[in-house]
């Protein structure tokens, strides 16, 4: 046992083992890097990214019923919903919806709270902005959803 250890030490086997490992990893097949804008990562279905305010695709009407539950659920109080009572239908109608992404921690509590699935955290993850104001999304931006530049291979 001690002889084996001595031999290992003299023949630098411990070092050679490590060296051979790093040598083998030079194979280009092992490369793990993704070349991001060209190679886009596949984001999971449940990914919580940029928020979107869903609209009914047929009528283009918002699904939001202005119940304010998302604003109540938000730990950071970053959602502001204002509504107006429509006298004809006697229902509350959404007027503005502000979502401050700069404070959002993407916990998904608003999404869980929404009774109509109007507010949704989508798979878009490119949220960079040149200004702080740009991170505050209004109703229109939220309904459009984020529009990241798409690079092609």
């Amino acid at each position: 046992m001690t002889m084996k250890k001595l031999l290992r030490k003299v023949l630098l086997l411990d070092l050679l083992q490590g060296l051979s490992l790093t040598f083998r990893y030079q194979d280009p097949k092992e490369i793990y890097t993704e070349q991001y804008p060209l190679q886009r990562p596949e984001v999971a279905e449940r990914y919580r990214g940029a928020p979107r305010l869903n609209v009914n695709p047929d009528t283009n009407e918002t699904l939001c019923i202005a119940c304010d539950l998302c604003a109540l659920a938000c730990p950071e109080h970053l959602i502001v919903v204002t509504s107006e009572r429509n006298e004809k239908t006697r229902r509350k109608e959404l007027t503005t919806f502000t979502y401050d992404l700069s404070r959002c921690m993407f916990c998904g509590l608003c999404e869980d709270a929404c009774p109509t699935d109007a507010l949704e955290l989508t798979q878009d993850f490119e949220l960079a902005n040149y200004t702080r104001e740009g991170a505050i999304w209004d109703r229109q931006t939220l309904e459009q959803g984020p529009q990241p530049t798409v690079y092609k291979k």
Binding site: G18, L19, T22, Q26, P28, T33, Q35
Partner: protein, 447 residues
């Protein structure tokens, strides 16, 4: 025709194996100047290439890609970085000693380059052949410590000071071990087979003597028909091992990169340096790496000699092209083939580039690079060029292996602690060095 011009013409046309051009001072100066220019451009290109290769190889070892954006496969990244450093603001700390702070990188660059004076890239490819070349090399390379001390002291800041003190202690400690190994090599030059040759060149008379001339050391290996690495096996190997370890420590590279251990000392002695002043340290570090590797190649790996230099093989006659041993012919084709293989790799890379107009310039660039490599390979097939340049090729190849080892170590090993490094230097390397020296001398007496 004046004598110096004649010697120049002789030098170009004949691949004579004696450094005859020393005879004339003017010719000597002219050739020295040409080699100076060649060395500076060559070393600069080598440093740039090393920079790129280090990032790429290290990246591949670490399952990454490395630079990919500037130029095809990041080929132009070092140049982009150099430009960036050139236009970067240079900050000299308030409390720094201005003159010393300015002088430190200059000193380091000068010492790192001056070593190249004595390095023989081929039997005639050297700036000069000094009879005390090895001593000169040791002397100059120890001045590098001074630059580091200056940098650390002038910064007037804690981390650089600690880095420079560590660095100097480390470098001087390993210099002793290095010196022991070098003395063993010098001893070997005077052994069997070495004598006759030096009588021819230097006319030292009857007894066989050793030499400190770098060209002479390779000549001795030629004459003894062995690389000193294999001399008195395993004595030569152990001496080489000591030198190889000391060499890594001398250049402050992993696993002995304590002076600039970024996890402890942030950046060591060049913490306060920025901009182009910093890049001079970088340049010096890589130049020094290449320099000590060249010395290792000269001392232990037979310098410009190709592998199996003593074997020539059966005679072959090819009209107008080449005649001589078959093995010689085979090895003479290696330089060209190497470049063809490199060109092939570059070409495959070109084919595999993404087909997108954003990549058009890069693709064309890579194709051009492949063509250039192929062209160099073609030129190397030409017998006259080949005969004049293949020494340099073999030398560079051996140095390249060392460069790869540097990167490889960096990618694999953890870093020594300072006291362990000193222990290794003082308590293992120096005694082993002395023992090897004594054994070599004892064995040499018999030979």
């Amino acid at each position: 025709m004046p004598q110096w011009l004649q010697s120049v013409v002789d030098y170009v046309t004949k691949s004579n194996n004696t450094p005859g051009w020393y005879a004339d001072p003017v010719a000597s100066a002219i050739w020295a100047l040409i080699y100076i220019i060649l060395i500076f451009t060559g070393v600069s290109i080598a440093v740039i290439a090393m920079n790129w290769l280090e990032r790429k190889i290290l990246a591949h070892m670490q399952v990454r890609l490395g630079p990919m954006r500037v130029g095809p496969h990041g080929l132009l990244q070092p140049i982009a970085d150099a430009l960036k450093l050139l236009i970067k603001e240079d900050i000299m700390p308030d409390q720094a000693d201005k003159v010393v702070f300015w002088l430190a990188p200059v000193t380091i660059v000068i010492t790192a380059f001056t070593v190249y004076i004595v390095i023989p890239f081929g039997p005639t490819h050297a700036v000069t052949d000094m009879n005390i070349g090895l001593l000169f090399m040791l002397g100059v390379s120890s001045i590098g410590v001074l630059g580091i001390i200056m940098a650390g002291w002038a910064s007037n800041s804690h981390y650089p000071l600690m880095g420079s003190l560590r660095s100097s202690a480390q470098m001087v400690s390993y210099e002793i071990a290095m010196g022991m190994a070098v003395v063993s090599a010098v001893l070997m030059t005077s052994f069997k087979g070495g004598g006759n040759f030096f009588r021819q060149i230097y006319g030292t008379g009857g007894a066989s003597v050793g030499t400190l001339s770098m060209i002479g050391i390779v000549r001795a290996q030629e004459a003894q028909q062995t690389w000193f690495l294999f001399k008195f096996f395993p004595l030569g190997l152990i001496a080489f091992f000591i030198f190889a370890v000391a060499m890594v420590a001398e250049t402050n590279r992993a696993p002995f990169d304590l002076p600039e251990a970024e996890s402890e000392l942030v950046a060591g002695f060049h913490t306060e340096y920025s901009g182009f002043r910093w890049s001079l340290f970088f340049l010096a570090e890589y130049a020094a790496m290449i320099a000590v590797s060249s010395i290792a190649v000269t001392l232990w790996l037979g310098g410009w000699m190709r592998p199996f230099a003593s074997l020539h093989g059966p005679n072959v006659e090819i009209p107008n092209y080449w005649s001589g041993g078959a093995i010689d012919l085979a090895f003479a084709l290696v330089p060209a083939l190497t470049f063809f293989v490199l060109a092939l790799f570059a070409f495959i890379g070109t084919v595999r580039m993404p087909k997108h107009r954003a990549f058009r310039v890069q693709t064309i660039g890579l194709a051009g690079f492949a063509l250039a490599l192929g062209f160099i390979g073609l030129v190397l097939l030409e017998p006259h060029v080949r005969d004049r340049v293949q020494d340099i090729f073999w030398f560079s190849l051996k140095v390249a292996v060392f460069m790869y080892m540097y990167i490889w170590y960096r990618g694999t090993f953890p870093r020594y602690r300072f006291d362990q490094l000193m222990h290794l230097g003082w308590k293992f390397m120096i005694p082993t060095g002395i023992a090897v020296l004594i054994l070599t001398a004892a064995l040499g007496l018999g030979s």
